[in-house]
Every structure is written in C-alpha cells, then in structure tokens.
C-alpha cells in the first residue's frame, strides 16, 4: 500500500513538474529574440558555405584512396534520398541514418577514412545532399529505387534561400 501511494505521489510530482516545465519552458526559449533579417541572411550564407563545401567534397577524390568520389555514383546527389532516412539498411543490417551510410560509402567503395559525425566535412556532405532535395516530402523508410531531383543548370542547388534550381 505504501509503495502504491509512493508511486502515486511520484506520478503526481512528475505530472506537476511536466506542467511546470510546459508553462515555463516556452518563456525561457522566447527569451531570445528571433534573428533579424540581417542575421538570418548571415545564417543562410553560412549554410550555403557548407552546401558549397559539400559540393566540392562530393566531387573530390580526397575522401577516398582509389580516385573515386561520391559523385562517381551519385551525380547531383541522386540516389542518396535524404528524405527516406532513417531506414533499415541492408549493408549495415540495422536501422541507419544517412551519415552512417555516407561513412560506409567512404570506407568501402572509396576505401577512405570515415568522418566523425560532427566534423565540418560530414556536415557539409549532409548539407549538400539534403539541400539538393529541398522541398521533397519526408518519408522515412520509403523504398526509393532511384530518386533524385531534376536539375537544369549550375551546381544544382539554389544559391539563394528559395532560388530556383
């Protein structure tokens, strides 16, 4: 009986603290002003720097040791399908994320050294592949045999915030 009461008390306490958190958390977060248009523009420029860096890395043999680059098999980041991750990856025998697959590609077909997940290089590769698929609906687990976004000209990613591809 005591145990049950204790559980009830604990549950009530948890509930209360959740409610308290729910009340106070937004106030805490909204303590920061949203970025000004100038700041937002700077942030976008930083993102595009990462996308550009990813584009360069994608087409450079520097990630591997046998001359191959990501772009050999994935022109315009096609068949990367960022919108379908996480999903069960047969090669890895588990539910995996896109960066894990990137590292598999770097280690196996490119015979290179894997990247740490928070490295600038990995973030840049993710930025490029994901930005190429801007606007595609999220669909984790979706079976995409090929996929890819039609590209007409240039590097293929919009250079402005919502520029045309």
């Amino acid at each position: 009986m005591k145990i049950k009461q204790a559980k009830q008390v604990a549950t009530a306490a948890l509930f209360c603290s959740t409610v308290v958190a729910a009340i106070f958390l937004p106030l805490t977060v909204s303590g920061k002003e949203p970025p000004t248009p100038v700041e937002k523009e700077q942030q976008n420029q930083e993102l595009m720097k990462s996308v550009n860096k990813g584009y360069q890395l994608w087409h450079s043999p520097s990630l591997g040791t046998n001359g191959l680059a990501c772009g050999n098999c994935h022109p315009d980041a096609s068949a990367t399908n960022p919108h379908t991750w996480p999903k069960y990856q047969t090669n890895l025998s588990k539910v995996s994320t896109m960066p894990e697959m990137f590292n598999w590609c770097i280690a196996v077909p490119l015979m290179g050294k894997t990247l740490s997940y928070d490295s600038d290089e990995m973030v840049a590769l993710i930025s490029y592949a994901t930005y190429m698929h801007r606007g595609v609906a999220f669909a984790p687990g979706k079976d995409e045999q090929y996929g890819g976004v039609p590209v007409k000209s240039g590097p293929g990613f919009p250079t402005g915030n919502d520029g045309n591809r």
Binding site: H59, N66, G67, G71, N72, C73, H74, P75, D76, S78, A79, T90, N91, C105, V108, P109, Q145, Y146, G147, G148, V149, P150, V151, K152, S153, G154, P155, G156
Partner: protein, 336 residues
Amino acid sequence: MNKREFLGLSFKSGAATMAAGMFSPMAGSMFGLGGVAEAATKQISPFTFGVITDAHLYNIADHKFDHQLAHSVAQINAMSSAPDFVIFAGDLGQQGNEAELVKGKSILDKLKMPYKIIPGEHDYYLDMGKAWRGLFGNDHWSVDHKGVHIIGMNSILVNDFWTLKSLTPRERMSYMEMLECSQCGLWGVQEQQLSWLQNDVKNINPNTPVIIVTHSPLWDYYPRWNFQTEDAPQIRNILRKFDKVMSIHGHVHQVVYNQIGNIVSAGLMSTSWPWPYPPVELPYPDIRMNRANPADFEDGMGSHALGLTSNFDGVMMYQAFSDGALPPNVKHGVKL
C-alpha cells in the same frame, strides 16, 4: 540457372539457335510494344559480336576497375560461340592519361577476336584525344561485316569552354570528369563528322542493315548528364533512308531502350560502376535494371553480346557480372 549456364545454353549452337531461343513466345510477349521497325528485306549472314564499355581505368596499380574490365574480356572470351569481333563504346580511361589508355589497351588486347573502339569524354579532354588517336587511330570509322554496315562516331565533342577561363588541360579534364558539369555544354559529333557520315552512307542501299555506335545516346534522354547527342536529329535524318538502324551507346552505365522512327537504341552497362536512372520517365520503363547493391562491387555491371539473325533482327544480351542486377525480361535478352 547461373550466368555461365545461361550463356553456355544461349550461345551453344551458334547464332541461329540462339535467335530461335531468344524469339520464344516469352521474348515476344515482353515486346508487345508495337511499332518495331519493319525488318529489312535483305538477308545477312547471322553473326554475334561483343560490346564492352565504360571501363574508367585510373592510373593506379591493381585498381578494382582493372579487374572488372579484365572480367568482362574473360566473359566474352569464354562465350561458347565466339563473337566475330568486339566493340568498345568509350571511356576506357578516367582522367585521360596516356597510362590509363595504355593499361586499357593491354587488357582489351587479350580479346581473342579483333575489336573496334570509339572515345568517350574521359579518354579525350586532357590532350584533346592525342594519346587516344596515337593508340587506336581514327575516332570515327565504318566497316562492313557479313552484309551489315557498322559505323562508329565520336559523339563527345563540345565547344571550347576552357580558353576564356584560361583552364589548364588538367582543369579542363577535371571539369569534363563530372557528369553534372555545369560549364561544359552539350556534346555532339559536330559538322565535320556529319559531312563524313553523309558521304559514308551516300551510296549504300537503303535496305542495308546499319549499326551505329556512339558513346552517348542518339536521343534526348537527360541533357544535364549529357545523356544526349546534340546533333542526333541530324544523324537520325541522314540515316532515315535505311529500313532499320540499330544504335548502341555507352555513357549511361545502365540498361535503357528507345525507338525513334527507324532507329532502335540500346544503352549498355559499364564495367566500372552503375549510374542511377535520371529523374525522368523512361520511354520503355520495363526495360531497365534493378538498383545495384553497392556492397557487391560488380553488381549492375557486365559485358554484352548482340546476336543478329538473317533478317537483321537483333537481341542484346546483357551479360551481368552479378545475377541480381537484371529483371527476367532483360536477363533473357532485349530485342532490337
């Protein structure tokens, strides 16, 4: 049935038996597509030839792509009914170095039969084809074989994008190395070869069967990746007088099929790596390969053999290295 057994069966008793097998009801039903160009009336002597393409060799010793090209050569050499000759449809090297082309030639020279070759963009843009021509001769040619007129052309010529940018030859090549090069422009055979082609076929009877080999497809597939030839409409126009033309191309690293007027067109798998299908609708979506398994280095790649009957009906055999790449309708041959 594994690949070896299948090929052994297919080619055991020569082209005539193969053709009978290939044009079984099964093969017929999968081509219930209509519109196949009327067979030429002229009888030819049936024969088979091999096709290999897109080896993309690097100047790195003992590279996996060397072995994959060698595998392809061995596959064709092992066919129980030896093809008369082999065609290599471009991109022997990757970065245009002479060393890559020399290595490639030494592997192709192991073929038991003669071969003809055309350049791809990877063979060409370091020295504008100098090393390639030194090893292989002219980049466009025609031969007559058992009643069939066979044409090879260089379809990877682009207009000068490098002089204004002051690019070095190495930089020019690295631009062209990218499939999605945004500066390089569209490829074609250009004016000189168009005149040559016009002249080459001028006195050839329209009922002569014609096979044309180019690196890129002679139709507008996906220009972004140069899955096209800019002056293909002019080429098709010059060849319009023939009853039937078969167009064979590399560059796409995949099984793809089309028909335009009197021309049937087949794209080939590479020996190096497979490419995803571009984000466009295929004209014949049933004739495609499965997505290759990246853990299997040879999946989605292989060599090919084209068998011709006396009526100039042809079947493109995709001889995949790994069995999983091809759906059954492709595995059993694609009628051209």
